[in-house]
Symmetry: C2
Subunit: 356 residues, 2 copies
Amino acid sequence: MLARAGDPLGIRCRFLDPSPDAPAGRAAELVVGAYDDPAALDRFADGLTLVTYEFENVPVHSAQRLAERTRVLPPPRALEVAQDRLSEKRFLESADIPVPAWRPVASLADLRSAVAELGCPAVLKTRRLGYDGKGQHVIEGPADVELAWARLGQAPLVLETFVRFDRELSILAVRGREGSMISYPLVENLHAGGILRRSLAPAPRVPPALRARAEAYAHRVLDALGYMGVLTIELFQVGDRLLANEIAPRVHNSGHWTIEGTETSQFENHLRAVTGLPLGSTAARGASVMLNLIGTLPDTAAVLAIPGAHLHLYGKAPRPGRKLGHVTLRADDGAELDKLRARLEPLIPAGPPASL
Amino acid sequence: MLARAGDPLGIRCRFLDPSPDAPAGRAAELVVGAYDDPAALDRFADGLTLVTYEFENVPVHSAQRLAERTRVLPPPRALEVAQDRLSEKRFLESADIPVPAWRPVASLADLRSAVAELGCPAVLKTRRLGYDGKGQHVIEGPADVELAWARLGQAPLVLETFVRFDRELSILAVRGREGSMISYPLVENLHAGGILRRSLAPAPRVPPALRARAEAYAHRVLDALGYMGVLTIELFQVGDRLLANEIAPRVHNSGHWTIEGTETSQFENHLRAVTGLPLGSTAARGASVMLNLIGTLPDTAAVLAIPGAHLHLYGKAPRPGRKLGHVTLRADDGAELDKLRARLEPLIPAGPPASL
């Protein structure tokens, strides 16, 4: 989706991916290699003006190696912060952004005392490499501590209060080379089995003060990181408070609706930002809902028969829990969207939850 | 643009083009070969489910050869009609669609008597291979007859009345496999030096009766050809009358604004139609203007600094008179569009008119 956004602007892309079947290979040059293979990194970097990423688990030392040869944006520091939940939380707190109460956990004894301090339920998470609900275990009561430790105790961990949120939101913001910043409207997200299922955008019932707070948080994060490109913050809304759950230093699944639902997609704005072009309008066009296609695909003709439905198949082999594509449904207002959603949602296979 | 529209629907494209630099090669597989090279056609067709075209001068016998191996849509008959101005005019008249008065011209004597019958000014056109103003000569008075004949007389010709139109319009219509038809809003076009410079869409000041008339003409053409895909009719508006100037059996430059300016682009709807998928909404989103980039390119950053401006560079080597890309400017209404156009239009190099 980045390559497709770049081509009309004259931006030619090359991708590095461990898989020869990576969908990017259909839209641009593909270098197949591991993210930590120096030879692959060198082949990839050869002749490039600029490197960016759309996966936050790219090894920081790989990004640094590339940064010795060419410009890497967003700055590798953003990867460093986002890859470790401990540094992420410390960073957010240093930027005066509220987060759920948390404790670092390095031993079973740490875990017991953290559970005692934070209370239950709480969520034990690996500090690194967690995504789509992987590397997490909910502790409902002290009796769950042993099992949680047995499952995750081999890695560095954090324990977090389980937030009884009203809803999950995300904010996508962009910072350009000259420091200009712009945000997309807040998005309301629904996860199941740890995987994003649905994004509704703009999020309904957002008072101006809430939007302003989310934007202020995003801008503080962007500025503190000297960031360039699109960055996403996942948030929990509790009353009129927002707690930051996670930072993603990249274009984000909860921003896929921007392709049809805004004037300038997150993909185009990311490329504009890192290449130093002016940022594009982030204004929404009507109301949109994005539904992920997980594990199995719906009937193409049935989806396309719904006015305003836009199908995005990634061309990946189906397997349980895998994101195979998404559908964005756009309408001129929320009432019309609700009518069309009632036709679309029954067509989308719910799919089994991903194995944890 | 077709390949880019097809990929998210799971439609994989292969292109046949005489040039190894064809822009399609950046988005899909490219077979390089002449349109009339049987070996290239066979290599191209190998394994394809369906063949379509986006260039109306593909030789009819090539389309027929392909149709022996695989399905070719729109039907080759549409190429046959559109490639010869004589058969085109006869076809339009048989469908009861008004055209400018015309006469076939096969000799200087024919030309003299045609000029006498139709009066001046009149336009002498080659029957075949005319596009972007090539193969045309305006006859202002009887004194121009000799020169016009000297320039074009080696090919079969038609003479047409020079229509003093109020404006040029086009209608893009789509017919699906099951015969369903849908049209885009009428577009107002401006040509200079025979090349489309600007399309304004939806065309302003279109009374419902005018739109209905244009749609009726388009539907008669689609039905008469047993057509599938997008078809364009260029029209002259004279008062409340519409005269058909030309049929293009393909996606059309005057429909490029549909990428951002409608719910479903002409490219996606063409692919939906030929693959038997339901057609998508053709409703406009606000008001758009499309400006062609001819011969030289504007400053990318200056264009993108204008809200709602969408740049499409084709990646072709610049040369005078060549279409190198286009910009679509979209706004929520016509008044806002006018304001933004005043900023955009001075940035677009007018370029020298194409040599005829």
